[in-house]
């Protein structure tokens, strides 16, 4: 068995059950149709003595039957698949978040404590992990066959994917969306570890947390010059912003989620907060997606302003 087909995540066995069921159903259909074809071909070959009287060229009953039976079968399969699909799309509330930034041609991962790695991802077994992913250039796709999960990774957006690893070991990670010359070698390993070993691994490589790095960047990049509490520039207060509804100058309202924060940093002219002048400069091209993630982590952390004032 290849390490790509091992069932190494909590959802893999359920996906495989659906797959195998469909395989069995299709095999029965194939055997039935091919069998009938072969029998007819032999029986009614030219020159055979078979009975050819009373043949019909249509029959409403038969035709309705073979229209409705597949339809019902298909709807059944659809229903089954949709249940799984919803599970695949909904990360459990207690998931640990890890950030992934894809770039031609490597996978960069950031653990919440600031630990970073490239083309490898260490995760603890048994713990739901949610990956929040974005790309710095083209569309990539994060694909772990052993987990039966795949999700495209887009520039300018956050997509997410989650899994709970159920097997220790190392599993291949592929890029599944064609992304240029070295697409085929944009690979990595998912290393599933015991929680204790993982904790130790995190500690060994510990550095400042994402949010702390974000706080430093907030100051270095000059964000605090306008958004700081002592600032004289008329700019929105960012304390407690995350998750709140923001009124925009065009009259619409948005929820301040990751995407909104990302766009406000990279494309500030797009969504201007009501009551403020569009004076914020764009950081597009000046900072990378990893820095944006650190800034967002900082803005999400409790009382970012307080953190800022310490400096």
């Amino acid at each position: 068995m290849m390490s790509t087909t091992l069932q190494a995540s909590s959802i893999a066995p359920d996906i495989d059950t659906l797959f195998n069921t469909m395989l069995v159903v299709s095999s029965i259909v194939v055997a039935g149709v091919f069998g009938t074809m072969i029998v007819f071909c032999i029986r009614y070959r030219r020159g055979s003595p078979a009975d050819r009287t009373e043949r019909k060229s249509s029959s409403l009953g038969i035709e309705l039957a073979w229209t409705l039976v597949p339809l019902v079968l298909f709807i059944g399969l659809f229903g089954w698949s949709i249940g799984l699909w919803q599970r695949l799309q909904t990360p459990p509330a207690d998931s640990a978040v890890i950030y992934i930034v894809a770039k031609q041609w490597m996978w960069k991962a950031q653990h919440p404590n600031g630990q970073r790695e490239i083309n490898a991802l260490h995760v603890p077994i048994g713990q739901p992990i949610q990956l929040v992913m974005t790309s710095e250039d083209v569309i990539h796709s994060f694909y772990v066959p052993a987990f039966r999960v795949k999700q495209d990774v887009l520039p300018g957006r956050y997509t997410q994917l989650w899994f709970t690893a159920t097997r220790l070991g190392s599993f291949p990670l592929f890029c599944a969306e064609f992304c240029g010359t070295d697409h085929a070698v944009m690979r990595g390993d998912i290393d599933v570890m015991q929680p204790a070993a993982y904790a130790q691994w995190l500690r060994q490589h510990a550095s400042e947390t994402l949010a702390t790095r974000g706080a430093t960047l907030f100051r270095q990049l000059g964000c605090s010059g306008c958004h700081g509490s002592q600032s004289t520039v008329h700019a929105p207060d960012l304390a407690g912003l995350y998750g709140n509804t923001v009124a925009l100058s065009d009259g619409s309202r948005v929820v301040a989620d990751d995407r909104y924060l990302h766009d406000s940093i990279m494309l500030p002219a797009l969504q201007v907060v009501a009551g403020y002048a569009p004076i914020m400069p764009s950081y597009q091209g000046r900072i990378g997606e990893e820095d944006v993630l650190a800034l967002i982590a900082y803005l999400k952390s409790p009382a970012p302003e307080a953190a800022h004032e310490q400096h």
Binding site: F40, W85, V138, G156, F178, G180
Partner: protein, 534 residues
């Protein structure tokens, strides 16, 4: 009827039209135009085939046997672009369709003969642009041209390739318009809608898709060119654009486009089977309506190419159920073809073998489509070799088998000559075998997790790749065979007579090859199609 005649009638479209090259390049005769297309399409098929050979050779070894990553990417892009736009989309409608549509409805020509010739020039012109892109160094985006890779990151001749495809798209639109008007206005006396042969229904449904979907492609391709040349920011997230928007546009065309490839094949298979079995097709009306249903529902399923692309969960649910629903009319067709065999008098001539091969491969391709329609399974399978196998089963196993079957079936009508049966049957069987050996392993590769568009792959995938490459060489041989024996028949084939298959249908009532205006007098129809007796 007259299959023992020895001489080909002198007064036919090959000899009686304007003589010489000019006579062909300025012709307005739908039959000559059909042949012009056939020549162009054959040329592109073998170009695309050369690229396929290179791809398969390279994949014999995990690290890639003979090309750099860059060259490999250009090879599969070239293969995809050429096969989709310059072979599959025009193949059956533009060759067999052009040749046969007027004959089958008892017309003298298509509604707009000059426009028809113009369409061919667009086709050739577009093709040359793309070959130009190849000569200048190629394109590496894949035939799907996904943004923002194609608009901002690829350093290859994307704009040139896109212009080529754009131009060919217009050829497709014009052909579709021409066919629609022809079917509506030029049917002969007594040729009611439900007396139309199924191949005509298929061409009609296909034409609707061509006319309605292709403009979206033209628009999408223009946007790529605009974005690349002027950086307008439609797809560029750095300018507030949306990379996913491209995929929606692209698949809004390209999903219906797969029906442009398969509906005509279904029409051809229906003609071949009913003649090979010598009985009326089972459930003619269901067959006609199911083609229209496929054409219509086919417009609503594009999102199933994007289940993991980042669209919402609810969009996934809607596109999933619609994709299951569109499979129903396809299933109906398979059952009807099989039911047609019942109590028939089956003749296993070459066209029938191709048609049976078509039904088998189309069914295997179709059933695996259900796996991809089930979102939860698609997550694992999409963008792997499972998809590559799936679409080759439909497009190559389905469309190409039917196309070749159709070429064999109507060859006597088109050329007035018979080809040798033995080699033709052998080629059909070899093709079925080679095809399965090439593409079945790719289902397994995809299931094991090998992503597509890889020039190099992990070691454990090797043996299946080697199998697939071995199959490809057999397949290639089986594709070359018809070129030889059909070519031979042009010089040495016995005269066919008007109706060597003793088939029904108006095209068989005129001489082979047909005269310039098809029929001496407009034929009159007073019964439905496929009146085989008993």
């Amino acid at each position: 009827m007259n299959s023992t005649d020895r001489t080909v009638p002198v007064d036919n479209y090959l000899t009686a039209g304007e003589p010489g090259l000019a006579g062909w390049l300025c012709t307005h005769d739908h039959k000559r135009i059909g042949i012009l297309y056939a020549i162009g399409i054959t040329f592109f098929f073998f170009l695309g085939g050369i690229a396929a050979t290179l791809i398969r050779l390279n994949l014999i070894v995990p690290a890639g046997a003979l090309m750099s990553a860059e060259t490999y990417n250009k090879a599969f892009t070239f293969h995809g672009v050429v096969m989709v736009w310059f072979f599959l989309i025009p193949s059956i409608p533009a060759t067999l369709g052009n040749f046969l549509l007027p004959l089958m409805i008892g017309a003298r020509d298509v509604a707009f003969p000059r426009l028809n010739l113009f369409s061919w020039y667009l086709y050739v012109g577009g093709g040359l642009f793309t070959i130009g892109a190849l000569l200048l160094g190629g394109v590496d985006t894949g035939w799907t041209f996904y943004t923002p890779f194609s608009t901002m990151f690829s350093n290859t001749h994307v704009v040139l390739a896109v212009i080529g495809v754009f131009v060919v798209g217009f050829s497709s639109i014009l052909t579709g318009l021409n066919f629609i008007v022809t079917v509506h206005t030029m049917r002969t006396v007594g040729m009611h809608w439900f007396r139309l042969p199924l191949f005509v229904w298929a061409l009609y449904a296909t034409s609707l898709v061509m006319v309605l979907a292709t403009p979206v492609l033209a628009m999408t391709l223009s946007l790529i060119a605009l974005e690349r040349l002027f950086g307008v920011g439609i797809f560029d997230p750095a300018l507030g654009g949306d990379p996913l928007l491209f995929q929606h546009f692209f698949w809004f065309y390209s999903h219906p486009a797969v029906y442009i490839m398969i509906l005509p094949a279904m029409g051809v298979a229906s003609e071949l089977i009913t003649c090979g079995v010598r009985r009326r097709i089972f459930g003619y009306r269901f067959m006609a309506w199911s083609m229209m249903a496929i054409a219509v529902i086919g417009f609503m399923v594009w999102g199933h190419h994007m289940f993991v692309a980042g669209q919402s969960m609810y969009a996934g649910i809607v596109f999933s159920i619609l994709s299951f629903v569109v499979a129903v009319p396809s299933a109906i067709k398979v059952f009807n073809w099989v039911a047609t065999l019942h109590k028939g008098t089956i003749d296993f001539h070459a066209p029938m073998l191709y048609a049976l091969g078509f039904v088998g491969l189309f069914m295997l391709g179709g059933l695996t489509g259900l796996f991809l329609a089930a979102t939860a399974l698609d997550v694992n399978l999409t963008d792997t070799y499972f998809v590559v196998a799936h679409f080759h089963y439909i497009m190559v196993g389905g469309s190409v088998m039917a196309y070749l079957g159709g070429i064999h079936y109507w060859w006597p009508k088109i050329t007035g000559r018979l080809y040798p049966e033995g080699p033709a049957r052998f080629a059909a069987i070899l093709m079925f075998f080679g095809f399965n050996l090439t593409f079945f392993p790719q289902y397994l590769l995809g299931y094991l997790g090998m992503p597509r568009r890889y020039h190099a792959y992990p070691e454990p995938f090797q043996w299946l790749n080697v199998l697939s490459s071995a199959g490809a060489s057999i397949l290639a041989a089986s594709y070359l065979m018809p070129l030889c024996y059909l070519g031979w028949s042009l010089w040495r084939g016995a005269a066919a007579g008007p109706n060597p298959w003793r088939a029904t249908g108006l095209e068989w009532t005129t001489t082979s090859p047909p005269p310039v205006h098809n029929f001496p007098l407009p034929p009159v129809v007073n019964e439905g199609p496929y009146q085989y007796c008993p």
